[in-house]
């Protein structure tokens, strides 16, 4: 489809409009699951279509079609043009004041073992092996392993000469075990029940995830948690490992910094933000140890790219440096809107759509906490009484992204500077505006892990998109920690 898209689009495009663009997407996804050593039917998705965008006068309209013929594209252009004309009368902003500059470029995920190199039978065998390793004894009452692999291609062509080709290879392994022992049931996963381990790359991602044998650890930890006492309640020090840090970053830094939220676009659904336009450049978001980057250039991270969906080139940018808030997560359009309101903010390349059938909006891409200089042992050693938590399993935060409560799968007490007993059902709560100021130590590169999620939801119409979060382990002081009721 993409090979003919440019020529057909140029033939189908309407005359007399200020700008048009087409964004063709072809996603080929294979999903395999083996549960309790029984393989479920392999499922493949071939999702292909085109988003057409037309700017006419003060308005912009979008139309999505899976008919990439000249006739289909012409019909989509007609819809988009009509919407642009309707929008021009009552638009939030005048389209002409943001005109993306022309861009040309290519990008492809660096792949060692291409997805096409493995046949269905061999892939089934790998997943079945991982599943079987997870059933360590009869206390494991449910267990499964799965792999989702996607090859995604995107081509953006615009009337101003823009042509951007990008290809991604994405792999997400998962392992999960539920154990029942002594009247208690506990679930543990390899990196979160919502696939926190997700990377760009080929099948080498499975090796990096230790997919073949990690089920043994997962299962033993589920069993161990069944016998563990409940997590105690109190104001404690909290050491978060990267597979919980990713969620903490996502919910209480990423979403609050989305510029379209700050501009009010999301107030009917995802919400607004406790961050306001006047905070950039001066607001103390966290302690001096907090450095946060938007980095779509990190190879292997889940949302790496060379250009966002408005054609803005990717660049590693500090959003927070030494705890001070510098820039929002907004693309060129949102930044132009903010500047029109008097806020001198710069955008970053992060305007993205989840697929061909949705128009791009401000998203998180790769949002990372930079490593510090503490080893894990040093951070544990400085805690008199605290909890080390791993792997998110529950998240809830208010519509301004301020009051949060998160739960983890696994926790270990820290007593007198040493790891002590495992406790179950750990939770903690806090307020974004103050939580990051309690950051007391940031792990060094030895604690740094690249995580992410395939499931960041936002937007109207709703979009679920892939994002990356890399982080070291981080230590926070004086956190409201508590356990469950069971």
């Amino acid at each position: 489809m993409l090979d003919r898209l440019e020529s057909l689009a140029r033939r189908a495009a309407p005359a007399g409009v200020d700008r048009w663009s087409v964004r063709g997407v072809v996603d080929d996804t294979l999903h395999l699951t083996v549960r309790q050593d029984v393989a479920q039917a392999p499922s493949r998705t071939l999702d292909a279509g085109v988003m057409v965008t037309v700017t006419a006068g003060a308005g912009t309209g979008h139309a999505a079609t899976a008919d990439a013929s000249e006739t289909g594209l012409a019909a989509a252009f007609g819809h988009a043009r009509a919407l642009a004309l309707a929008a021009a009368r009552h638009s939030v902003f005048d389209a002409p004041y943001h005109r993306p500059p022309p861009a040309r470029g290519r990008h492809a995920t660096r792949v060692e073992q291409p997805l096409a190199a493995l046949g269905l039978r061999e892939l089934h065998a790998r997943v079945a092996h991982a599943c079987a390793r997870t059933h360590v004894d009869a206390r494991v009452v449910d267990w499964s392993a799965g792999v989702t692999a996607t090859r995604s291609e995107q081509l953006i062509v615009a009337s101003d000469g823009t042509r951007i080709e990008q290809q991604w290879s994405l792999v997400t392994p998962s392992i999960q075990a539920t154990a029942h022992d002594g009247g208690t049931t506990q679930t543990r996963s390899s990196a979160g029940q919502y696939n926190g381990y997700c990377r760009q790359g080929g099948w080498e991602v499975l090796d990096a995830a230790r997919f073949a044998d990690d089920g043994v650890r997962v299962a033993h930890e589920a069993i161990e948690q069944c016998a563990a006492p409940p997590c105690p309640a109190g104001t404690l020090d909290l050491l978060l490992m990267p597979d919980q840090m990713m969620l903490q970053i996502h919910e209480s830094i990423g979403h609050p910094l989305e510029l379209d939220r700050i501009l009010g676009d999301e107030r009917n659904f995802a919400g607004d933000s406790f961050v306001t336009l006047d905070m950039f450049g001066s607001y103390r978001y966290g302690s001096e140890l907090l450095d946060v980057t938007h980095d779509p250039t990190l190879p292997g991270e889940f949302a790496s790219f060379a250009y966002d969906d408005e054609g803005m080139p990717a660049e590693r940018v500090h959003l927070i440096r030494r705890g001070v808030l510098l820039r929002p997560l907004g693309g060129a359009l949102s930044a132009a809107r903010a500047r029109a309101l008097g806020a001198p903010v710069d955008g970053v390349a992060t305007t993205r759509a989840c697929s061909w059938n949705r128009a791009p909006i401000d998203r998180m891409s790769n949002l990372n906490v930079e490593p510090g200089d503490s080893t894990l042992a040093q951070m544990i050693g400085r805690v008199e009484l605290g909890v080390l938590m791993r792997t998110n399993c529950s998240w809830s935060i208010d519509q301004s992204r301020d009051k949060f409560q998160f739960g983890c799968e696994h926790a270990t007490m820290i007593r007198g500077g040493r790891l002590a007993e495992v406790v179950r059902n750990p939770n903690y709560r806090g307020v974004s505006a103050t939580f990051w100021r309690s950051l007391a130590a940031v792990g060094d590169a030895s604690t740094f892990e690249v995580m992410g999620t395939p499931f960041c939801g936002k937007g109207e119409p709703s979009q679920v998109i892939r994002v990356g979060h890399a982080s070291p382990a981080c230590l926070f002081t004086g956190v409201d920690v508590f356990g469950g009721a069971s």
């Binding site: 029984v38 393989a39 479920q40 039917a41 392999p42 499922s43 493949r44 998705t45 071939l46 999702d47 279509g49 912009t60 309209g61 979008h62 139309a63 999505a64 899976a66 008919d67 819809h79 919407l83 309707a86 929008a87 009368r89 009552h90 638009s91 939030v92 269905l120 039978r121 089934h124 079945a128 009452v141 449910d142 539920t178 029942h180 208690t184 049931t185 679930t187 009010g264 676009d265 107030r267 009917n268 697929s355 059938n357 529950s394 809830s396 935060i397 208010d398 519509q399 301004s400 009051k403 409560q405 739960g407 939770n427 109207e460 119409p461 709703s462 679920v464 469950g484 009721a485 069971s486």
Partner: protein, 441 residues
């Protein structure tokens, strides 16, 4: 946008009866949607989406493989694409392990539901918002257009479900407070939309009073139907499915084991006959008109997908693979609307909840935030709005020992989700008066 003849043409071309014991099925999810989002009563983004996803599944000798493809909407090209994929899948079955839990329908049940509406054009929507909400801080999302779910298989079954709907969800904001409005249906009325806006304005007048500061603690509270639907929405994710029940990961495990019970007035059901979800699923199973899930406060049936039905040896309800209810209802109680404030007395009126999750799944303990129209009530009178607060409490307790009453009238809350496609689902719920709601932050 596909019409019924397209299903028949695709079904005839791809799902002809097969003499080799194999079964080919086709599940279609299509829509032609106009999406418009507004900020400050002005258009932020307008998108027209035409899409049809076809899930083609082949089954033979206990093996199954499936592919979901986007159809172009050109029948000859789509048949050629699907036929090639069907043949590829049939060849691929040799590499697929046998699935002992595979279960196909054993009877042919054709169904058809086709409801046409009067939908607004995008320009009409823009004019309505600009005309009725001009100058106000009105943020809204409008989704409109036909939605199709359809099924065909080589056993000869054909199922068709086409509805034309619009859904407006808006927030009217003033002085840091927000009022929610929903206007959904099949026949657009500019007058009715204006009336919903007027209702939201009236509520905003109450919200304009100085906000009260609440301390963490236990509160008597009234959850409006939309808030109850949020609680039931979270419960739906793993509370009612058979697989979760049997694998020990259900939030209603204690209810199922008899270790806990809701109040005896609590009756829940998957009421497909009364909902907007199709009465058939992707595997060709038709769904019972009604499945009782909670009877007299105690666990009744668990929703069974065909796969779970085979694995656990029970009858299938034709539920989706995730075993989520799509037409969940909670039976009404006896509290009259005019008596609600007096019955609440001193407490909290909670209009909406937001961002719920489990803080302890096995205890069915939930956390989440209050949102939108939430008020402090004293002596049966609304005295002040309150800022969003976090709750953390067990639903087993809230609808168990903490339940004071359910309202006599209910609301059908139509799902507004549009992830990948417009969802066809609803929750029908009354309001609930409870005691001892735990606020934590």
């Amino acid at each position: 946008m596909i019409e019924r003849p397209v299903l028949d043409a695709l079904g005839d071309a791809l799902c002809a009866p097969r003499g080799d014991g194999s079964v080919v099925s086709l599940w279609l999810q299509a829509e032609a949607s106009d999406f418009q989002r507004f900020n400050h009563a002005k258009l932020r983004q307008a998108t027209h989406v035409e899409q049809c996803h076809a899930t083609l599944a082949v089954t033979a000798q206990g093996r199954r493989a499936e592919t979901t493809l986007t159809l172009a909407g050109r029948i000859d090209a789509d048949i050629a694409t699907l036929a090639a994929e069907r043949d590829r899948l049939l060849a691929l079955l040799h590499d697929v392990p046998e699935d002992p839990f595979l279960l196909l329908p054993d009877a042919v049940h054709p169904t058809s539901r086709d409801e046409r509406g009067t939908l607004p054009t995008p320009a009409q929507v823009v004019d309505a918002v600009a005309g009725h909400a001009a100058g106000e801080d009105f943020v809204a999302f409008v989704a409109s257009g036909p939605v199709v779910r359809a099924y065909a298989d080589s056993r000869g079954q054909r199922n068709w479900h086409r509805v034309e709907t619009f859904h407006v969800e808006g927030s009217l904001l003033r002085g840091g407070q927000a009022s929610k409005l929903v206007h959904a249906g099949t026949h657009w009325s500019d007058t009715a939309f204006a009336a919903r806006l007027d209702e939201a304005r009236a509520q905003l007048a109450l919200l304009g009073r100085p906000a009260a500061a609440l301390a963490p603690g236990a509160y008597r509270a009234y959850f409006a139907p939309a808030a109850v639907a949020e609680l039931l929405g979270l419960l739906s994710w793993n509370g009612f499915g058979l697989k979760a029940r049997r694998s020990g990961t259900s939030s209603l495990a204690r209810l199922a084991s008899g270790d806990a019970a809701f109040d005896a007035r609590v009756q829940m059901a998957e009421a497909t006959a009364d909902g907007i979800a199709p009465a058939f699923g992707a595997d060709g199973w038709t769904r019972p008109a009604r499945v009782e899930l909670v009877r007299d406060g105690r666990a009744a049936n668990a929703l069974a997908s065909p796969r779970s039905a085979r694995e656990f040896g029970v009858a299938s309800h034709g539920a989706s693979a995730a075993e989520l209810p799509e037409s969940l209802e909670l039976r009404a109680g006896t509290l009259a609307g005019r008596d609600l404030l007096a019955a609440l007395g001193d407490g909290l009126w909670i209009g909406h909840l937001w961002y719920l999750n489990y803080s302890d799944l096995h205890a069915c303990r939930m956390t989440g935030m209050t949102r939108y129209a939430c008020f402090v009530v004293r002596g049966g009178e609304i005295v002040a709005p309150f800022a969003p607060m976090r709750f953390d409490d067990s639903l087993l307790r809230l609808l168990g020992s903490g339940l004071l009453g359910l309202t006599a009238t209910r609301e059908r809350i139509v799902a507004a989700e549009t992830y990948e496609r417009r969802r066809l689902a609803s929750i029908t719920a009354p309001g609930a008066l409870v005691d001892g709601l735990q606020l934590t932050l």
